[in-house]
């Protein structure tokens, strides 16, 4: 929450005004053990799919074939991971995903911080309409775009390229990122801008030296969020790409599942590998990630 605090507080002065004192001194009775009685099983149940997939991934093929998929591991083998990474093409597709994600996140945040700066700090006619139109674009169901986007990539001559995937991700994401960044930039204190202007800084200089550095918290939140979204995307990849060698990890995994249908350890290992990068982002940037999720929901 803290990362995006400025828009939240400017947006909801009433909530902010009454809250802090009340929250601090709320006396609470000692917690009952029932919370843990209820939550320990729920937590274990929640983690069980991940744990079971981990079990399957580290078992040998023969162990799974002989004792069934549901049995606890009686063997330990990293064959599943090795096969998935090499023959399964997971390594190559991870590379594709990393490339697309990095380019798309940087480009979308760059473009949307441009737009957000223009909309939040300048008296652009109809800026509210422009802003909401841009946000609306991101809310459209992607299905309404798929067929035309596929034919546009054809017409422009970038069909079946990672470039096309990056561009499509950028185009679809910009509206939301602009909206969030606009909310943040609008809350930046005006005095800083006044001072910079008096020092003779132009709009470009103010953007580069003041707005971008000050917007770091919300850029970080959006970067964490956008990384997981773009890395986890399946439908755009399936729409834009045809050749397997270019598939990002999600699409490649579905193929892996077809090719290694009975080798559960390979499928499980591949799925775990696919989950690792976003899990790392999540644990490193948990605070930013959660604050990113709250964007658009704060009252």
């Amino acid at each position: 929450m803290s990362a995006l605090a400025p828009p939240a507080t400017t947006g909801a002065p009433t909530a902010a005004g009454t809250r802090p004192a009340a929250r601090r001194r709320r006396p609470r009775p000692a917690r009952s053990p029932w919370l843990h009685v209820a939550m320990v099983p729920v937590t274990l149940l929640w983690l069980s799919p991940i744990v079971f997939v981990l079990f399957v991934a580290v078992r040998s093929y023969d162990d799974i074939a002989g004792r069934g998929l549901g049995a606890l591991p009686a063997s330990f083998s990293l064959d599943g991971f090795a096969t998935a990474l090499t023959e399964g093409g997971v390594l190559r597709s991870l590379g594709n995903s990393a490339l697309v994600t990095a380019c798309a996140v940087v480009l979308s945040l760059a473009l949307s911080s441009f737009a957000a700066y223009a909309l939040s700090r300048f008296d652009i006619p109809g800026r509210r309409t422009i802003l909401l139109t841009m946000l609306a674009g991101n809310l459209l169901p992607p299905q309404i775009l798929l067929v035309p986007v596929a034919s546009i990539t054809d017409a422009v001559g970038i069909a079946d390229t990672l470039t096309a995937l990056v561009i499509v991700q950028v185009g679809f994401g910009i509206g939301f990122y602009t909206f969030v960044l606009h909310g943040f930039m609008r809350g930046l204190p005006g005095e800083v801008f006044e001072a910079a202007r008096l020092d003779g800084a132009g709009p470009g200089g103010i953007f580069w030296r003041i707005v971008l550095p000050l917007s770091r918290p919300s850029l970080a939140a959006l970067a964490a969020l956008a990384t997981t979204w773009i890395f986890n995307d399946l439908i755009w990849a399936m729409t834009v790409l045809r050749s397997e060698a270019k598939f990002p990890i999600t699409a490649a995994l579905l193929n892996l599942q077809g090719g290694f249908a009975s080798a559960w350890n390979v499928v499980a290992a591949g799925s775990l590998i696919a989950a690792v990068p976003t899990a790392i982002v999540f644990f490193l940037f948990q605070k930013q990630f959660v604050s990113g999720l709250l964007v658009g929901a704060n009252k």
Binding site: A12, T18, A22, R23, R28, R31, L35, T43, P49, I50, F52, V53, V56, G68, L69, G70, A71, S112, F114, A115, A118, F122, I124, P125, R128, L131, A136, G137, L139, L140, P141, P142, Q143, I144, L145, L146, V147, P148, I152, I167, V168, G171, R186, G190, P203, I235, M238, T250, L253, L254, V267, A274, A279, F282, V290, L293, G296, A297, N298, K299
Partner: protein, 302 residues
Amino acid sequence: MSAQPSTTPTRRRNRFARVPLLVWVFLLVPFVVELFWVFWPAANSFSLALTRWDGIGLAEPVGLQNFRDLAADPIFLTALRNNVIWVLGFGGLSVVGGLVLAVTLNKPGPLVGLYRSAIYLPMVVSLAVSGLFWRVMYAPEGPINGTLGLLGLESLERQWLADPAVALWAVLIAAVWRQVGYIMVLYLAGLKGTDGTLEEAAAVDGANAWQRFWRIVMPQLRGVNTVVFAVTVIDSLRTFDIVWAMTRGGPYNETQLLSTYMFQQAFTTGNLGYASAIAVVIFALAIGFIITYLARQARTED
């Protein structure tokens, strides 16, 4: 609160000139990108929906025929029914689950952070990968059937993803597993914004926890509820990845959603006009909720 060079009333045409050229470029480049890659394709879908097109030759205009065909297409009707089940089932279960967990885990305490992390951990796993995880869980020899066997409930064991009677719900549970954490985060934030003193006052007046929740806390969560509601419906209508990863709409189209059927028609069968008509239906179903969400955001913008 803003830095605009200040407040003398100016005539409208001067406003264009007052914005530096560079700033116009800053605005127009992203805007044009979105216009070209989002709004232009969206507009195209509407006109394609009125044609029959295989993607190679010329699109042949057929008026509203695609929509008439849809109304008589049993698979489309199944997909539509499934989508309604999905909105209610997926939406209902994840909202109730997320709200209950948020209320349970609202107060800080030992282990509470751990519980929260466990609940929203699935969110970092992509929908496609979640689907693969749950394929392992639901496999005929997999852990779910194994656990049922251990508990002596062999009669409940089944081929979860191949049994038309339960496949949709099996996929739905997997999707809920991933969504609950998100809803919980939204409600946790909402609960943070509620006024604790009101609840205490009610407690002093003898209201029990149940009454306090419904009479005091819930009304304060109205804003979050709107967002959760809109987000849930929009997400439900978009749902594609997890179904595609788990069943591709099978068995016998029993888990087909509008999005998967649309994708199949477009890219497997190659009926691009017909697929566009399905996309238009999805749009028509979503637009009301999109506007709800936008209206709310517009209000917070003021």
